[in-house]
């Protein structure tokens, strides 16, 4: 299953590298695990494997900065191996996984476990977040220095917000001593408890609402603490128009803040809930069209740095329930590329800008080596056909769980080959001209 990395030349590709702004026809020479050369003309060494890309796009492998892998602890929903298969089928070569596992990733042993399982799978690379607080309980700072030493790339309580202002203040302050990044699920916990976006749709369906204000309030509080402590802060999965405005103002003031949003939030609205469709039950919830438009605008003007799938596998038992009882979350690692390509149409973004949100931007933020096409960089690549359409569904999704908010939808942009450290780990549809 693990072909050894040799010498491969990818020819006749539309090279897309957001880091350098390169968009040209040419090739990439891969020697061993690294990119050896890139440009309009690359030499073909004797004995090299030649891949003719026939004019299709070749970009850095995608970096999905927010996924749940469910292992250890919920392997009936997903494993590191099954998520990695879905990832490479979607052109994702690196994932940063949340610490909300059982046991929680709050000590170096669990970091090592996740790293070892990812190595065994040998597909997409996995970079764990360490828990920001012990047990993600939000009470005491976790051993983030030791976690970083063992490989954690940033710190977050994942799906849980750090609610206490005192704990968040100490956490940001302590993290700033080391220059670590703290990522927050911005939802004021004392305002939580709803099932979908608060408003007339929830009212009509008789569902309790999650107030958009719960997001702004925690975001505003955190940004005050960022200002005091000088810490690096990342707000995960923005969902409201006001949140985008808050981050835009904070960036204008020079705070070290970044943020991401997810494909369902910039492609769908609360209307997707329809008649209690639990695959559309997400946290944060899908919002209104005006929120979606604000997210697209934020992506276009750079206020929103990254797109992350927020991949959250739920087995059918967790979703075949009343809307209130159903679990939050959707799978997304395999649909990330297609969703980002929609930004060229939905937000009128240049292709390189759209790709930057899932390559160089998250790689820079997390300090990862991939995310760019340049000599010396890891040969983590995706070759894709930007026009090919495919249908999202149980027959195409490779995750152990199939709870995609885009279930049954047609998406545009299909992966034909994914390369990790010079090895072709996924070969999809035939390359045709």
């Amino acid at each position: 299953m693990k072909p050894t990395a040799g010498t491969t030349v990818f020819l006749n590709a539309r090279l897309l590298d957001p880091a350098s702004g390169r968009d040209q026809t040419g090739g990439v020479l891969v020697t061993g695990e690294r990119i050896a050369a890139i440009g309009p003309e690359v030499q073909v060494p004797a004995g090299a494997e030649v891949v003719d890309c026939r004019g299709l796009c070749l970009a850095p492998g995608l970096v999905d900065m927010r996924v749940q892998l469910c292992e250890p602890g919920a392997e009936h929903k997903e494993t590191i191996a099954s998520a990695a298969r879905a990832a490479v089928a979607g052109g994702v070569t690196a994932m940063a996984c949340l610490p909300n596992t059982d046991p929680v990733i709050d000590n170096d042993a669990v970091v090592e476990f996740v790293a070892r399982r990812a190595r065994l799978a040998g597909l997409a690379k996995v970079y764990p977040y360490g828990a920001a607080t012990k047990g993600t309980r939000g009470e005491e700072i976790a051993e983030i220095g030791l976690l970083a030493d063992s490989g954690a790339v940033a710190f977050t309580d994942g799906t849980r917000a750090v609610g206490s202002a005192m704990v968040m203040n100490r956490l940001l302050s302590y993290a700033a001593s080391f220059g670590f990044l703290i990522a927050q699920h911005p939802e004021e916990p004392t305002m939580g408890g709803g099932d979908m976006n608060a408003g007339e749709t929830a009212g009509g369906l008789g569902l309790s609402g999650v107030s958009p204000a719960a997001e702004w309030i925690l975001l505003e509080r955190d940004l005050r603490l960022v200002e005091i402590t000088g810490a690096r802060y990342h707000a995960a999965h923005l969902s409201t128009a006001e949140s985008v405005a808050i981050v835009r103002r904070a960036k204008a003031r020079g705070l070290s803040v970044t943020c991401d949003c997810t494909p369902p939030h910039f492609l769908l609205t609360e209307a997707a809930v329809g008649e209690f469709r639990t695959f559309a039950k997400l946290s944060p919830p899908l919002r209104k069209e005006s929120d979606r438009q604000a997210l697209l605008a934020g992506l276009k003007d750079g206020t929103i740095d990254c797109v992350a799938s927020d991949h959250c596998p739920q087995d059918s038992d967790s979703k075949r329930k009343t809307f209130h009882d159903a679990a939050f979350g959707g799978v997304g690692v395999q649909t990330l590329l297609s969703a980002v390509l929609e930004l060229t149409r939905e937000a009128d973004m240049p292709l390189l800008d759209a790709l930057a949100t899932v390559t160089v931007n998250p790689a820079r933020l997390l300090g990862l080596p991939g995310g760019r096409l340049e000599p010396g960089a890891p040969a983590d690549l995706v070759v894709f056909d930007p026009h090919r359409r495919w249908r999202v569904g149980a027959e195409t999704l490779l995750s152990k769980s199939r709870n995609s908010p885009f279930d049954e939808a047609e998406m545009t942009g299909a992966v034909v080959r994914t390369v990790v450290d010079g090895r072709s780990v996924f070969i999809g549809a035939e390359i045709d001209s």
Partner: protein, 315 residues
């Protein structure tokens, strides 16, 4: 010889001038010699009464003051607040008034609250020595640290001194910052941000959050105790993480000057802020010498304040 320091109390190092400090250290140097001789008893404070009033548990500081007073010939009374009227609910000011009525000459006071010793000093006629008030000042510790350094390095001016660890909760750090700055040393603080004094730069020090970078090229590495008893929890994740990044071991100490001295005000948490390997290294560690200089410095302070009382005449 008239002391240069002319105040009635010694409450902190903040207002001390270089000549005052030098005079106190010179006196202490002479007492250090006395303490090493066989005949240690002097009559400088004969007929005087010194009261040690300790609201916080202390062994070394109280013993050090007691020995200092006894070697100078004073009568010494130790007040344990746990077994006194304080335990019965007496206020600080009432206790001060009560003690004052007994006409002591010097009150040596330690209290858990910053500013308590200064408050008490305003209510008595005798001299008051601050033996540590909350997170505020501990002037005799800074003086004994300075004496230890001066005896080893021959000077204070121009030395690079790194004060490392739980600076936030440390009265030792604050007193040392003022005193060392007055003597022309370059002071650095090394701590995680959660244990640093907010706005420390305004005290004229530079701040580091990396131990190796902070002690690089330093002459003196002063470690502070992790004040577990003062931690309301959560300033650091764990003592094992603290030791990994901020604990002084031989490998990290290599960043300092080859002849850098290691100091610690005690009591030490071995394996938390300092490796035993360093703490017990007689080539590098002057921790025992600090204790020795403590008695000498306290003798100099008691002598100075008693002379000032006499100078002030009627009180």
């Amino acid at each position: 010889m008239t002391p240069i320091y002319a105040q009635r109390h010694l409450l902190g190092t903040r207002s001390l001038t270089a000549p005052e400090i030098t005079d106190l250290l010179d006196r202490a140097d002479r007492y250090a010699a006395v303490n090493r001789s066989a005949e240690k008893k002097l009559a400088v404070l004969a007929g005087r009464t010194v009261v040690n009033l300790f609201y916080e548990n202390s062994t070394r500081t109280r013993t050090s003051f007691e020995l200092a007073a006894k070697r100078l010939g004073a009568d010494v009374v130790n007040m344990q607040t746990g077994a006194s009227s304080v335990a019965k609910g007496e206020t600080l000011i009432d206790t001060a008034a009560t003690l004052n009525a007994m006409h002591p000459d010097v009150l040596v006071v330690r209290h858990q609250d910053s500013g308590a010793v200064s408050l008490l000093s305003q209510k008595v006629n005798c001299a008051v020595v601050n033996a540590g008030d909350g997170k505020h000042e501990h002037p005799t510790q800074a003086l004994l640290d300075a004496l230890t350094i001066r005896r080893r390095k021959g000077r204070l001016a121009g030395l690079k001194v790194a004060i490392c660890g739980d600076v936030l909760h440390s009265r030792v750090a604050r007193s040392n910052i003022h005193l060392l700055a007055a003597m022309g040393a370059e002071v650095r603080l090394v701590a995680p941000r959660t244990l640093c004094i907010p706005g420390a730069e305004s005290l004229g020090v530079s701040v580091f959050h990396d131990l190796r970078a902070g002690i690089a090229d330093c002459d003196i590495v002063m470690m502070l105790r992790i004040q577990n008893e003062r931690m309301s929890g959560g300033f650091i994740p764990s003592t094992r993480e603290y030791f990994r990044f901020f604990g002084l071991d031989r490998e990290k100490l290599a960043a300092a000057k080859p002849d850098a001295l290691v100091m610690h005000p005690g009591p030490m948490n071995r394996g938390v802020e300092i490796d035993s390997d360093i703490a017990d290294d007689v080539e590098r560690s002057v921790i025992r010498e600090q204790v020795e200089m403590g008695v000498a410095v306290r003798m100099a302070v008691l002598e100075t304040l008693t002379l000032n009382l006499a100078r002030g005449g009627d009180r």
